[in-house]
């Protein structure tokens, strides 16, 4: 499969009153045509900032991309002019955000918000755009599109608004969709509907997807490949099956063990990761996870480990991943 998006050594920083925050600190990942890739991690790990960096939506002047390349279809997005970048956003790369209510314009009808993109990006006439908008609403499972196009966002439920966001993201036939926590704000049964819809459409239309989430269950169900992030860096990468069956980074292992699972007998006690999430302005030298790690060795507090091969197409950034492999049978 062709590499569609290739992010190389990306660094994104924010200047804050308490110092420089390296939100994304030397991260490389790629998405191939048609596949679903996940960026997993907890709040502040840099997963959303990674996606915003790809879209060049990191808010200046506090935030800026200081290093790296973001190659999409052979072009480095970081070298494009603002005008050219505007043609990529929404047209070639679609984006779905967590909170549909705050990402839709409350004073414009849903129809106007859908047709605007089509008219600007694809040069459609208002009539053509209207017809296409109705077609896409049908595609995302909204019935009676004619009436719905005339309505405003507040007249839709949370699940329906997320369907509209998906419709907007798909409207210009993009090659890639970035979905940032697309179902976190939704109820369980609606979450299932939206994820099925996304998966179904991405298969049918051959769109590649980057899913950003903290939910390990969502990743297991929908992703082909997974990147686990911690404190601005990728700590483990591999196919979803490999990562869940043979985690080789203590953080991944800790995440998997700390959540109760419905398919397993109930445990007397949960197995949490100890300590607090890292403060990005005061990261320790060496491995950022060392203060919370149960496999920590002396070296971990001095040298920062880089991603290294631990299995077929499976890498982990951990000095102790061999010991972990021996101590944790599959």
């Amino acid at each position: 499969m062709d590499v569609l998006l290739d992010v190389r050594d990306l660094h994104t920083q924010f200047t804050t009153s308490s110092g420089v925050v390296r939100a994304v600190d030397g991260v490389s990942w790629d998405v191939r045509a048609g596949e679903t890739v996940a960026l997993v991690g907890e709040s502040g790990c840099g997963k959303s900032v990674s996606a915003l960096s790809v879209m060049r939506l990191v808010s200046a002047p506090a935030g800026r991309i200081t290093e790296g390349r973001i190659v999409f279809k052979g072009r480095d997005l970081l070298t494009l002019t603002d005008d050219d970048m505007r043609k990529v956003r929404g047209r070639e790369i679609g984006m779905i955000f967590q909170e549909p209510m705050t990402s839709l314009n409350p004073v414009l009808t849903v129809g106007r918000q859908l047709t605007e993109t089509l008219e600007i990006h694809l040069g459609m006439t208002p009539t053509q755009a209207r017809a296409r908008a109705g077609e896409i609403l049908g595609l995302v499972g909204i019935s009676d599109p004619e009436r719905r196009l005339r309505q405003y966002p507040h007249q839709f439920s949370g699940g329906m608004r997320q369907r509209i966001m998906i419709a907007m993201a798909l409207s210009c036939n993009p090659a890639l969709i970035l979905a940032d926590e697309p179902t976190t704000a939704l109820d369980v049964t609606i979450q299932a509907q939206i994820l099925e819809l996304l998966k179904d459409l991405s298969r049918k239309l051959g769109v590649a997807m980057l899913i950003i989430t903290h939910n390990l269950g969502v990743v297991a169900r929908y992703a082909d490949r997974v990147n686990v992030m911690y404190a601005g860096r990728i700590v483990e990468r591999g196919t979803a099956r490999e990562i869940y069956a043979h985690p080789r980074h203590p953080y991944t292992l800790g995440l998997l063990r700390s959540v109760p699972r419905l398919d397993e007998p109930r445990k007397a006690r949960l197995d949490p990761i100890s300590g607090q999430p890292p403060d990005l302005t005061r990261l320790p030298p060496g491995c950022a996870f060392a203060p919370r790690c149960s496999f920590v060795a002396e070296r971990c507090r001095i040298d920062r480990p880089e991603l290294a091969l631990v299995g077929e197409a499976h890498t982990a950034a951990c000095w102790e991943s061999e010991r972990l492999a021996v101590q944790v049978p599959a």
Binding site: E42, S43, S157, G159, M160, D187, V188, T189, I190, Q191, A192, Q193, L195, E196, H214, N215, L216, G217, V218, V219, A220, R221, A240, R241, Y244, A245, G254, L255, L256, S258, V259, P260, R261, L262, D263, R266, K267, R269, L270, D271, P272, I273, S274, Q276, P277, R292
Partner: protein, 325 residues
């Protein structure tokens, strides 16, 4: 665990009027809670699950007397809270505490952690002496797994998990018998959720606490609860012990909810059969006739449209509101 219920809720109804007024005629009614009954035994945890708008939080707020029920009775340690005189209620109310979902908005940003925990001790004259109060605050911080030095910090200096621990220490200060935990971990990071759940379980064992655990995460609820009630649109549709609910659910909504929870294991997910419900939760302003679940129910028949199913006992300690079961 004794069998005497510490809390009994009988036919609780809470309707919120909206709109209407001077010209609009009678206001419309949101039936947030519509005839809910259950009891909690001393020392146990009852999980209350359901999707947003199902009335689980309103049920909790009625029990805490933060909302005045439209109808129904709430008996705490055998006494009807609505019938108690003001002074008595205040005393009883102390033994009913709450832990909120959002540790960011439930702590006063202008107070230090020590002041936040000391305030109820002073107001209710639990520990009137200043020096003794400081000692008690340190002790409470310790119970919640925080260092004594935390007392001087402000909420914004703490992480989400630490803030939730402060909320727990504040609830413990009142020496409660029952704590309503309203989504206590859903705003926290995955790696921190397990810490807080373990803490809640340790405190329950140490102080003999009873929990009403309101949540939407079915995996977490299974872990912490002894019994579980499932709510849909203001009504309980199924209530039984944890093991039965998760291993042998009977109500079609319970089954769909369980099936919708993704399992963190691709190998398991690949072979899993899913019930994806169509449609959305209807508005409580205008609930469907008969069984409120019938428009989305995969096994609904025409009778479901006409008849409101009673919550009936299908076996000991297992009640289901469905005519198809």
């Amino acid at each position: 665990m004794t069998d005497a219920p510490i809390l009994e809720v009988r036919n609780l109804v809470k309707h919120f009027p909206i709109g209407g007024g001077v010209f609009g005629g009678p206001p419309a009614l949101i039936k947030a809670v519509d005839g809910v009954s259950f009891s909690i035994r001393r020392g146990e945890t009852l999980g209350l699950v359901g999707e947003s708008g199902c009335g689980k939080t309103t049920t909790g707020r009625c029990i805490l007397q933060l909302e005045k029920p439209t109808a129904g009775e709430i008996l705490f340690e055998g006494r009807d809270l609505a019938a108690l005189p003001e002074g008595e209620l205040r005393k009883v109310r102390r033994r009913l505490q709450v832990i909120f979902q959002d540790p960011y908005s439930s702590l006063n940003p202008r107070m230090t952690v020590g002041q936040i925990i000391a305030e109820p001790l002073a107001v209710h004259r639990i520990v009137p002496d200043r020096a003794a109060r400081a000692t008690r605050v340190r002790e409470l911080l310790g119970h919640a797994g925080l260092l004594p030095a935390m007392a001087r910090r402000y909420p914004h200096e703490l992480s989400g998990g630490q803030r939730q621990r402060v909320g727990i220490a504040r609830a413990l200060a009142m020496e409660p018998a029952l704590i309503v935990c309203d989504e206590p971990v859903s705003a926290l990071d995955v790696s921190i959720q397990a810490q807080i759940i373990n803490l809640l379980e340790e405190l329950q064992a140490e102080f003999g606490l009873t929990y009403l655990f309101v949540a939407h995460d079915l995996s977490v609820v299974r872990h912490i609860s002894d019994r579980v009630a499932v709510m849909y649109l203001g009504k309980i549709v199924e209530i039984t012990d944890r093991k039965t609910l998760y291993e042998d659910p009977q109500h079609p909504y319970t089954k769909a909810l369980l099936s919708a929870v993704p399992i963190p294991d691709p190998a398991v997910e690949a072979g899993r059969e899913r019930i994806v419900l169509g449609g959305e939760v209807p508005s409580p302003l205008n609930p469907p006739s008969g069984c409120v679940f019938h428009p989305r129910c995969p096994i609904a028949i025409s009778e479901c449209r006409g008849e409101v199913p009673a919550l009936r006992e299908i076996r000991e300690d297992h009640r289901v509101a469905c005519i198809r079961v």
